[in-house]
């Protein structure tokens, strides 16, 4: 069982490293991750929202919907642990 796990792990690692041939180089300012919507956020964060921290303005204002559901996720995790573990009489 451990040998099968080791062989499949090495195979998956080799496939992933072969797949990084298509990735952009580290630190490239023209990478696709930094080109489509990210300059809009960086340039609009002081003009439109007057928050100097770009991460907080994207988290709370431009993508506030995702943060709301994430708060609900951590609330649900707390509820699940309470309902699975708490026994009556405490």
């Amino acid at each position: 069982m451990k040998r099968i796990a080791l062989i499949s792990t090495l195979l998956a690692g080799a496939l992933l490293i072969w797949g990084t041939r298509d990735f952009p180089s580290w630190g490239d300012p023209n990478a696709p991750a930094s080109r489509h919507v990210s300059p809009t956020y960086i340039e609009g964060t002081v003009k439109d929202t007057s928050i100097p921290n770009a991460v907080t303005s994207v988290l709370g204002d431009y993508r506030g919907y995702d943060t709301m559901f994430e708060t609900i996720v951590i609330f649900c995790a707390g509820i699940v642990v309470i309902s699975v573990l708490r026994r009556p009489g405490a």
């Binding site: 069982m1 451990k2 796990a5 080791l6 499949s8 792990t9 090495l10 998956a12 690692g13 992933l16 490293i17 990084t20 041939r21 990735f23 952009p24 180089s25 580290w26 630190g27 490239d28 300012p29 990478a31 991750a33 930094s34 919507v37 990210s38 300059p39 956020y41 960086i42 340039e43 964060t45 002081v46 003009k47 007057s50 100097p52 921290n53 770009a54 991460v55 994207v58 988290l59 993508r63 995702d66 943060t67 994430e70 996720v73 951590i74 649900c76 995790a77 707390g78 699940v80 642990v81 699975v84 573990l85």
Partner: protein, 129 residues
């Protein structure tokens, strides 16, 4: 030889994170104890988070906290500031990782209470009897 060296220098950060990912993956499928599998999943998630954060760096970039006076007067050059979007997405990923770890540990306490052991092969024997 030169092409391989160029490739290594341009992408060695992804290779390091692939190695970390494979360590977590081996722990998830190769170990018998349930707590060790859970820790393998945690290592896997951490490797993914680091890989995304490292993909948003620009050469000579400053941190994504912008000087308010300079931005209102002159404007912001977005090629010199690191990308804030992967940081935002990875905050959600960290919170999801904590939630999944908490719920998994709670389920493991109930499994231990019911079967008396946390080894996967013993639990499978007990349920198939």
């Amino acid at each position: 030889m030169d092409a391989i060296l160029d490739e290594i220098i341009a992408k060695y950060n992804y290779w390091i994170y692939v190695v970390l990912m494979m360590i977590g993956f081996y722990a998830m499928i190769g170990k018998n104890n349930l707590v060790k599998k859970l820790l393998g999943m945690n290592i896997f998630q951490t490797a993914i988070i680091l890989m995304f954060i490292s993909s948003g760096v620009k050469k000579g970039g400053l941190i994504p906290i912008i000087d308010k006076q300079a931005a209102l007067e002159q404007g912001v050059n977005s090629a010199l500031i690191n990308n804030p979007v992967p940081h935002v997405l990875m905050l959600t990923a960290i919170v999801v990782s904590v939630s999944v770890t908490g719920v998994a540990l709670a389920l493991m306490q109930r499994i231990h209470r019911r079967y008396g052991t946390l080894e996967e092969n013993e639990i499978l024997e007990k349920t198939q009897r």
